[in-house]
């Protein structure tokens, strides 16, 4: 799958420039964290990477293949900011994806266990708690056996305990050599998970550096002020 390469990526909708001049290269099978203020364009960039939105300028390729090609997209999975629970049981949510990808439904149990939901298998998915729904959404995405997993603020509405459970799910996916691209506002979470950090501001990437560099001495002024607001 990797590397992901964007060249001069831009997107305008109705004469509004939402993304512009994004040059990005993701090479390692690690956790990439995307940070930035609300409205910086993080979710839209994720959609472009996932091939859901065709950029209006520049190019975006996964290992040389166009991001919007169906073969490339089938090797990726995404959990949206507000994950959709299919109106059926917890296990049926997993089975749906397994069937879709022609995989054995006997794998359901494995994915339920990975989400810590085996005891809620028969419960309607929509009756699960926020944290459980998020874990189910991630497990369902993993059931696609993706090479890349996109997560858009997966813990934005969760309490610290639920957040840690989601994070451990993400870490274990990453250890199975799934590339993780995660958007978050939570700097502490970024510190815990990130191998490299992409910082976005006003529709463009102002900085892409290793986590170590980013958290010790962010290069861009935007990132510096974002971090200092957090420290105070």
């Amino acid at each position: 799958m990797l590397p992901l390469v964007t060249k001069q990526l831009g997107l305008s909708v109705d004469n509004k420039q939402l993304l512009h001049n994004i040059w990005l290269e993701l090479t390692d099978n690690h956790v990439t964290v995307i940070m930035g203020h609300n409205g910086a364009g993080k979710s839209i960039l994720l959609r472009c990477m996932h091939g859901l939105i065709e950029p209006t300028e520049g190019t975006i390729h996964w290992a040389g293949c166009k991001a919007s090609s169906i073969e490339t997209r089938k090797k990726q999975a995404m959990v949206f900011q507000k994950p959709l629970m299919l109106n059926r049981s917890t296990s049926a949510n997993i089975e749906y994806v397994l069937k879709l990808r022609d995989k054995s439904e006997s794998l359901t149990q494995k994915y339920l266990q990975s989400a810590g939901l085996e005891h809620k298998a028969d419960q309607p998915a929509r009756s699960l708690s926020g944290g459980e729904q998020q874990r189910l959404a991630i497990a369902r995405a993993l059931a696609c056996e993706p090479g890349v997993l996109f997560l858009d603020e997966p813990t934005a509405n969760l309490d610290p305990g639920a957040t840690l459970k989601v994070e451990s799910q993400v870490i274990s996916a990453s250890q199975q050599t799934i590339k993780i691209v995660l958007v978050t506002h939570d700097i502490a979470q970024a510190r815990r998970l990130a191998d490299d950090v992409v910082f976005m501001s006003d529709g463009t990437v102002t900085e892409h550096s290793s986590a170590k560099t980013f958290f010790s001495q962010p290069a861009s002024a935007e990132a510096t002020s974002f971090m200092s607001a957090y420290i105070r």
Binding site: H50, L52, A77, M78, F80, N87, R88, V97, L100, C144
Partner: protein, 230 residues
């Protein structure tokens, strides 16, 4: 002309023992309206879902057209079906006029726009939540339709119910294409209209009570199954 209380006591007598004529009428009503509704659902549910999901040029026109057909007066529709089925009509060779099949066809045409329009609205509302995930998973269109229909099953039950209520309660279409022939095409609503005009109020009223009871029973059934499949 009997007095008000006399009418009601006769209604009681009619409903207490199984009157074969009454049963025949009730059975035919149910058979015609249920068949018409099921057939309309078989086509209207997937069609409505497709309209709710897929964008295509002219979608607005199609939607407005179907929504308009929802309000089609049954007598007008009966007239159209009558012209189609009459001996000189395009489907006259089938010789279906004044048969229960003709009544099923008329009610099917009456119910189809209702089921399609309500389904489209329901599925379109849900699709705004589903589209991202379905696109992300690369779910093919036909399977999107099936997924949305199944996930909306509870509200779609009410859609089917609306269609059935329209079918069982209409009189204009069945009287034109069925002719209200005794022991052949007489259903509850046409019988009520006839008996009232003849002055046989007890029979008309008894049929009215049965009609309401069926409506109540069907609604109760649907409501209880809603909680079961939820």
């Amino acid at each position: 002309m009997s007095t008000f209380s006399q009418v009601f006591s006769e209604v009681g007598v009619l409903l207490s023992g199984p009157d074969p004529d009454l049963l025949e009428i009730v059975w035919l009503s149910l058979r015609v309206s249920l068949t018409a509704t099921l057939a309309a659902c078989a086509i209207g549910l997937p069609l409505g879902a497709l309209l709710g999901i897929k964008n295509f040029p002219g979608k607005t026109i199609v939607t407005v057209l179907i929504n308009t057909l929802m309000g089609m007066p049954p007598v007008v529709l009966g007239l159209i079906v009558y012209l189609m089925l009459s001996r000189s009509g395009p489907m006259g060779f089938l010789q279906l006029l004044y048969t229960p099949t003709a009544m099923i066809i008329a009610q099917f045409a009456l119910v189809l726009p209702i089921v399609t329009a309500l389904t489209r609205q329901q599925i379109e509302d849900n699709w705004s939540e589903y589209s991202d995930t379905m696109n992300s998973l690369c779910v093919p269109l036909t399977q999107c339709v099936r997924t949305l229909l199944w996930d909306s099953r509870i509200s779609l039950l009410t859609t089917g119910l609306a269609g059935f209520s329209r079918a069982i309660s209409e009189v204009g279409a069945v009287i034109i294409v069925g002719g209200n022939i005794d022991h052949l095409t007489r259903v509850m609503t046409t019988a009520i209209a006839l008996e009232t005009s003849k002055g046989d109020l007890p029979l008309a009223l008894a049929l009215g009570v049965v009609l309401l009871t069926i409506a109540l029973a069907v609604n109760t059934l649907v409501f209880s199954s809603r909680t079961r499949i939820a």
